[in-house]
Subunit: 210 residues, 2 copies
DNA sequence: TTGACACTGTAACATTTGTTACTGTGAGAG
DNA sequence: CTCTCACAGTAACAAATGTTACAGTGTCAA
């Protein structure tokens, strides 16, 4: 574990903290599309992401979904921190976008280290900062962009986190992530194809201009 | 200052911390509609809100606005914390919704206290948590509600933070806060009036059912 | 008092997004 | 091979929201 830890977090944390993490952290590997956190769950440990990407999404009372943002390696989930501290239920769902590897840290440690290690304090605050920025970006996207631009952004973001310009998803799945209907997505995808930005295939989409 | 401080934060912080706050904090009073933070500003102190309410809003590249949420007494601005820590520019604008009184704390202290006082640590983390929840609520609102419900929620929220069921705003101002057009707001307000939920007057609106 | 102007109401229309319905096609199961 | 079914394409229509234009009215300053 120590190797992967150093590789992703070595430049952030001092040796002593890395050793503590190694002592109490539990490595967990999950396959793509597995749900890590369900809405309403209580959370008792926080994840440090070593490999892969996690999709964070919101759901309303009718079960309609909306993807908020992705978390990548070298990062943690601020909503999780937030819930740990507040002892409240999770407000979001987290799904492995790709295969992921992460280190789970018990919540007591996270709290203890805050007073003990300046680097941990910075990491946590920085993490909150990053997540705030992601939330703002999500708000900008749904408030200020029209569906065609949102769709293009969605495809690009997805290509980014999977490191693959081929998007493996059906129109139905995309429409759920964007909280709209399948027909709308099919219509707009066809438009994007006509504009030469993507090519459409059964069950996958190729992005031409990133 | 110590009285107001104790009144709003006494149950949160220990005596020693309250004294430190008193020593370094600067009380600031501002009139309604004054801009506290402009997008792009660097921030060197964080506010503890004693009285009144602050409106937090986002702006896109075209200058179109959108109100995100309000901050009330006993709370602080997590975006400010976030920017302080990251040494980055503000991503949001903060405007006094009512007359406000606040205590400004230099950012170095905020950071120092994190290691020193458990209660401060909890306050900061709790504050991040609350702001995350507000952001999620903002996202829910724009993503899942239609404009008539958003408008009603806006009026209710505004009545709540001002402690006044009379909303002093023109249709134009409301439309800017909700990022839509004046005509749309006039249309929907008239609908709400016909439904018996509000009464309309020049420059103000009375909410009947809260 | 009068003129200017911001505020509000409303109609008519455009655009965007959502819905329903139907078709064709490819992939996998039997 | 063929049947089934999820997937995708498209038309026609409905609803929500945005835009333009104009009229009436209250307020304030000259």
């Amino acid at each position: 574990m120590i190797d992967e830890l150093r590789q992703n977090y070595g430049y952030l944390f001092e040796d002593e903290l890395l050793k503590e993490i190694e002592a109490v952290g539990v490595v967990k590997e999950l396959e793509a599309n597995v749900t890590l956190i369900e809405i309403g769950n209580y959370i008792r440990s926080i994840p440090l992401l070593i490999e892969g990407a996690i999709k964070i999404l919101r759901e309303d009372d009718d079960g309609d979904e909306l993807v908020l943002y992705y978390i990548e390696r070298g990062d943690t989930c601020a909503m999780t921190l937030s819930c740990c501290v507040g002892q409240t239920k999770s407000e979001i769902r987290a799904i492995a976008e790709t295969d992921v590897k992460l280190i789970m840290i018990p919540v007591q440690k996270m709290s203890e280290w805050l007073g003990k290690y300046k680097s941990w304090q910075n990491f946590i605050l920085q993490s909150y900062h990053n997540r705030m920025l992601e939330m703002l970006e999500a708000i900008d996207t749904i408030a200020f962009l029209r569906m065609d631009d949102r769709l293009l952004k969605y495809l690009r973001d997805k290509a980014m986190v999977t490191h693959d310009d081929q998007i493996n998803a059906t129109h139905k799945q995309i429409s759920e992530d964007l909280h709209t209907s399948r027909v709308v997505i099919s219509r707009l995808l066809k438009k994007l194809e006509n504009e030469g930005k993507i090519t459409l295939h059964r069950n996958h989409i190729k992005i031409l201009e990133l």
